[in-house]
Amino acid sequence: MTLPRPNTLVARGLIIILMILTLLPFLSMLSAALAPQGTYPNGLQWPADPQWGNFVRAFEVAKMDQLLISSGLIVLGVVPISVLLATMAGYGLAKLTTNKYKWLYLIFVFGLTLPFEAVITPLYYEVRAMGLLNTRFAIILPLIGLYMPFGVYWMRAHFLNVPHDLTEAAQLDGATRWREFWYVQVPLARPAIMSLTILLFLWTWNQFLLPVVLVQDPMQRTMAGALGAFQGQWGTDIPLLCAGALLILTPTIIIFLMFQRQFVAALMQGAVKG
C-alpha cells in the first residue's frame, strides 16, 4: 500500500474531483457572502474588496445567539429522552421478551420508512389541541415519538448481540432488572448509545418540516427551520443570504470536525441499519 500502484494517480485525481464538486457550493456561497451589500454578485470569484462585515450583519439580522439557544434547547429536549427511552425499549425487547412478542417490535419497525409528511397534518391538530402550538414542545414531543422506530431498532440490534450469560451472572448476584440495566447493560452499550446520540442530534438540529408547520416564530425553531425563515425574508439579498446560511452552518460543521471520526462512523452505521 505504501508504494503507489499505477492507478493511484487516477484514483487520487478522481477523489479530488469529487471533493471539489462537494465543496463547490460552499465556496460559491462564500464568494457571494463577501460581495458588497445590495449588489448582485457574479458566480465564483474572489471579490476585490471582501466584505467580511456581511457576516456581522447576518449574525445580527439572523439573531444567531438566540437561534443557537433555541436549537440547543430543542436538542436538549429531544435527544436525552429519546436515547433513554429507546435504550430501555431496546433492552426490554431484546432481553426480556420471547419470540411471542415479536409483533411489538414489528410495530416499532413499521415506522422506519414512514415519511414525516404522512403524519404532519394530524400532528398539527394534535399539537394544537394540546395547546402547544408555537412552543418548542410542539417540535420536541413529536420528534421523540418519530425517532422511536429508529432508536428502538438500533438499540435492540445492539442488545441482541450482548451475550446472555452476562444477564444471568448479574441475576445470580441478585441484581434487579433495573440495576442490571443501569450498571451492566448501559455502560456496555456506550458505543451504540453514542452513535444514536450523534444521529439524533443531527436529525433534530436539521429538522425542517416540523418547525415550519408547528412553530411560527423562527426564534423558537431549530437552526434549519430558522434558516428557512431567513431565506423567506432575505431571499433577494444574495450576499446577506449566503452569509447567513454559512453562519447557520458553522456550529454543525465545527462539531462535525471535532468529532469527525464518530460522526462518520455513526452516519455509516445509521445508513446500513436504517
Binding site: V10, R12, L14, L18, L21, T22, P25, F26, S28, M29, A32, P41, G43, L44, A86, M88, A89, G92, T98, N99, L104, I107, T113, L114, P115, F116, E117, A118, V119, I120, T121, P122, L123, Y125, L141, P142, G145, M148, P149, V152, Y153, A157, L160, Q171, R177, N206, F208, V212, V213, M223, A224, G228, Q231, I248, L249, T252, F256, L267, V272, K273
Partner: protein, 307 residues
Amino acid sequence: MSSTPAAQRQEQRLPQSRGSRKSRRAAWLFVAPAFAFYAAFVLVPLAMSFYYSFLRWDGIGEARFHGLTNYITVLTDPKLLQIIGNAFQLVGYFTIIPVVLGLAVASVIRGHMAGPFGTATRTILFLPQVIPLVAAGIAWSWMFANTGVVNQGLRAVGLSDWARGWLGDFVWALPAVGIIGAWVLLGLCTMLLVTGITKIDPSLYEAARLDGARPWHEFRYITLPGLRQEIAVCVTLTVISALASFDIVYIATQGGPGITTMVPGLEIYRLAFAHRQVGLASALAIVLMILVLISIAPVQWFAREKK
C-alpha cells in the same frame, strides 16, 4: 433486518426465567414509555390521517364523510398524477446518479482510502450529510442562479447559449432539483460502497487478475455481486429521500415554475395548510406512505435473498 444468525439463535434459546410473568411485566415497564411516545405521535396521527382521508374538511368547519372520493382524486387528477410522477423522476436523479457514480468511483479508488488522505476525503464527502438540506437548497439555488457558478462555467467553455435561470426553467427545473439531491447523497453512497469493497476478499481480485480478467470483468463478477447489500442500502436510502423530499424543493423552487417541481411532500403541506383541503392532503399522505413501502419492499427482498 440485520439480526445475525447468532442473535437469532439467542432469541430462541430462552432461559426459563424469561417467560415468567415477572419478567414479562418488567419487559412492559421497559418498553412502555417508548411505546407511549410512539403511539401518541406516530400511530395515533397515522390513524387520524387515514380517517381524515375519507373526509371533506377544511380544518375548521364541519367535516363531512366523503367516501373514497379523495383517493379517486389522487389517482385520477392529472395535476396530482404529475406531482407523483415528479417524485419518481426525482428517484432517477437522487438514486441513479449517486449509486452509479458512487460505484464507478468506489471501484477505482478501492484501496486508496488509507491514511490522512482518506480521512480528509471522508470528512469532505460527508459534509452534505451533516448540513441541513435547507442549506443545500440555498447553496444550490445560488449555484443555479442567472449569475451563478453553473452559468459562469458554461460561459467559460463557450456555451453561453445554454446559460439560463435553471430553477425557473420549465424544462430544466426538475433535473436541477434532482442534481441537488444527487449532490447531497453522492458522498454517503460512495463511502458506503467504498467500505463495502474493502470487505470483499482481496484474493478474489488477485485470482481474477492471474486468470487475465479485465477490469470490467473484475467489476462485473466480483465487485458488483459483493456489493449487493451496500447497493440495496444506497437504493433504499435514496429512494426514500426522493419520494419523501420536502426541504430542498420548498427552499429551491416552492414547486415551480408551474408545478414542474412539485412533489407529494410539498403538495401535502400546501393542500393541508394553504388550501385547507385536509381530506385530500391526508389521502395523498397515505398514498405517499404506500408508495414508499411498495418501492422499498423489492429492494429489501433483493438484499435479503442472498444472506
